[in-house]
């Protein structure tokens, strides 16, 4: 089975490094990549085929919401789950992200426990997808 793969889309490299360390701690065998904006991520996503994406909302060029909308339309041929990370999350914003296709919505700062739970869920989901 190919290793679990995680794509972190975040323009702030310190924040990206923190999420990456958390993921690496919870899933040492995971393949992890970082894209610094939604544009690079849209180009990369088809080749990298991530199982899980940590997506920052505020980014240059293509922001998190536009990325989500475009990702769902791009007819990618593999299942991918998306966790949106935003500094400000209220009910309206949460609904907006979910409508656009987010599986999880997290408010900053992200905790180790949140990352662990999401990785567990995403891993289970991945196994289920493979059984289907």
């Amino acid at each position: 089975m190919t290793p679990f793969s995680v794509l972190i889309i975040e323009d702030d490299e310190v924040a990206a490094e923190i999420v990456e360390k958390m993921v690496q701690h919870q899933a040492p065998e995971a393949r992890i990549e970082w894209c610094w904006n939604g544009y690079e991520a849209l180009v990369r996503v088809k080749e990298f085929k991530p199982d899980l994406i940590f997506l920052d909302y505020m980014m240059p060029k293509i922001d998190g919401l536009l990325f989500l909308r475009d990702l769902k339309k791009l007819e990618i041929d593999f299942p991918v789950q998306v966790a949106v990370v935003s500094a400000y999350v209220d009910d309206d914003r949460q609904r907006e992200f979910n409508d656009a296709g987010a599986d999880y919505v997290l408010s900053k700062p992200v905790s180790v426990e949140q990352v662990r739970k999401i990785l567990d869920k995403a891993n289970k989901q991945r196994k289920l997808q493979r059984l289907r």
Partner: protein
């Protein structure tokens, strides 16, 4: 013509000019003035052709083309970029431009020409050859979506032929690295010749066996020399000289011959799919262990002797199928002269005119190989072409003549106002040479000029970023930030630029961001397995991580 949809992605000013002639053709024209909605509109409308302005806000048309071509659902739609004047195609090819758009409409252009170009791309099977394909030459794979630079990529007889022809035509000096799963070759190139070959698998223990195969020695003599070499801790060739099995000059000649054969084997299937990378550099080494071997001789021998004919037939057939006959190109005689083909091979080359790959493959067994190999060699060199080539230049239709009087002028600054291929190449060569000697200040001077000529040069950006970081980035975080942004831009322009990933990784590593650094080292190694430094960095980080885990357990 059936009803067709054209999507125009441009600012309002250009849209107003383009709309009348496009709608007059009966096409349904959809307009996007904001590139943010371009993906959505394309997927909703499913246009037959996209016409996109280069100088759009937020993302450039070049970036949008790259994004579109990286996804099947968008990439199938012909993407025409309306751009300011570009360098000539031959210059773009030599300088290794990464282009994703299928075609360019250079401004100033009249509206009649624009309409004709759009119409040509709607024509289904008779579409023009895409720009990436034209840049990659006659043996490029069908359906290529990104122009592949000739300097690096995956080895095949086609990519190797393209590389050697470039090096032979332009006389570049530098280092060519080939990296297979276990094999590595480092080949120094100077004055259109191979001047030195180093290999990790040119082990001395194969020399006796090699000479036995040639019939120079018996296998027993080879084995004896092997034993002496081990006992005295000398090379087999030295042992053979000491045992009077070979004269010293003979030994040198055979060692050189074995090395050259290793290079020729790069044309064989055992190397197919391995990585290669040529780095231009002014060589300072004065003495070499082999006599110079012309690159053209390597190319000829490699294709005419070492390449697998089935692989050659497959590459030829994948472009035009088995049933397109060859025709003599205008430059046939020049290609024959450049390749220094013997008169009988020239005559055989002329016999190929009018034949298809399928017919050549069905020829009697004794002549099949040579004909096929020669067809490949001459096609790679441009001496033979497939019949009825797809047009690369579109002539305006008479009916569109009325629009010819309306000319669209470029808006804003020209993209390459100082374009000069020779200056670009020379400055890059000097910059790279000084860079390799770690003279970053000197290198930066030449790289600045490279970027003045071509501000989109991914290679120039990556090298300059690393110079900046080395010169003052470790003391000044604003320089580090600028260097990182420059490297990200280099990757945006060319996502196969392994050096940009490597340098970005090294900066992250120096900042203690090992996780990010590791991701970039892996990416550098992935896009170019010939990049030994990236591989080393990956391993170093793995060791560091393992030690940290062991330390945690204690």
């Amino acid at each position: 013509m059936e009803k067709a949809d054209v999507l125009v992605i441009a600012r309002t000013g250009l849209v107003e000019k383009l709309l009348p002639p496009l709608t007059a053709k009966g096409w349904q024209v959809h307009v996007c003035t904001d590139v943010r909605t371009a993906v959505d509109t394309t997927l909703r409308v499913r246009p037959d052709v996209i016409l996109c302005e280069d100088d759009t806000a937020i993302m450039s048309g070049w970036e949008l083309a790259r994004l579109f071509k990286s996804h099947d659902s968008l990439g199938r739609v012909p993407f025409l970029l309306v751009s300011s004047r570009m360098p000539p195609l031959a210059d773009m090819e030599r300088a290794g431009f990464r282009v994703s758009a299928d075609d360019l409409i250079e401004l100033p252009a009249d509206l009649g020409a624009v309409v004709s170009r759009v119409e040509a791309w709607m024509a289904g099977p008779d579409r023009p050859l895409s720009l990436p394909q034209r840049l990659a030459g006659p043996l490029a794979p069908n359906g290529m979506i990104q122009a592949i630079p000739w300097r690096r990529g995956k080895l095949s007889p086609a990519s190797l032929a393209r590389l050697l022809l470039h090096l032979a035509n332009f006389g570049e000096s530098g280092v060519l690295r080939l990296k297979g799963e276990r094999r590595q070759l480092k080949i120094l190139v100077q004055s259109r010749s191979v001047v030195e070959i180093e290999s990790n698998y040119l082990r001395d223990d194969t020399f006796g066996r090699y000479l036995a195969q040639l019939g120079v020695l018996t296998e027993e003599d080879g084995d004896r020399a092997f034993a002496v070499a081990i006992e005295k801790n000398i090379t087999q060739s030295q042992a053979m000289v000491q045992m009077n099995l070979l004269q010293p000059n003979e030994a040198d000649q055979y060692v050189a011959r074995q090395k050259i054969e290793k290079v020729l084997q790069a044309f064989s299937p055992i190397w197919t799919g391995s990585a290669f990378h040529f780095m231009p550099e002014r060589l300072t080494q004065r003495r070499f262990s082999i006599d110079p071997v012309p690159l053209i001789e390597i190319l000829k021998n490699g294709l005419l002797t070492y390449a697998d004919p089935l692989e050659l037939a497959h590459i030829l057939a994948r472009n035009r199928g088995d049933d397109e006959p060859f025709r003599r190109a205008d430059i046939f005689d020049r290609a024959v002269a450049d390749l220094r083909l013997a008169p009988e091979l020239r005559a055989l080359g002329l016999e190929l005119v009018g034949k298809t790959v399928g017919q050549i493959r069905q020829a009697p067994a004794e002549s099949d190989d040579t004909q096929l190999r020669l067809a490949f060699l001459l096609t790679a060199a441009g001496g033979l072409q497939f019949d009825a080539p797809a047009p690369s230049v579109v002539q305006p239709q008479a009916a569109d003549g009325e629009w010819a009087q309306y000319v669209i002028q470029p808006v804003g600054a020209e993209r390459y106002p100082e374009w000069d291929l020779e200056a670009f190449e020379n400055n890059l060569l000097e910059g790279r040479t000084l860079f390799n000697r770690e003279d970053y200040r000197g290198a930066q001077h030449f790289l600045d000029r490279v970027l003045e000529i071509n501000s989109d040069s991914s290679e120039g950006l990556a090298l300059k970023a690393w110079c900046m970081f080395e010169l003052s980035g470790r003391q000044d975080i604003s320089v580090t930030y600028e260097a990182k942004e420059m490297l990200k831009l280099a990757i945006t322009y060319d996502d196969s630029n392994d050096e940009a990933y490597l340098f970005l990784g090294r900066i992250f590593k120096s900042e203690g961001k090992d996780s990010l650094a590791g991701a970039y080292f892996r990416r550098a190694n992935e896009v170019n397995p010939a990049n030994e430094e990236a591989r080393r960095e990956v391993k170093l980080l793995q060791v560091k991580r393992r030690r940290a885990r062991e330390w945690e357990r204690r």
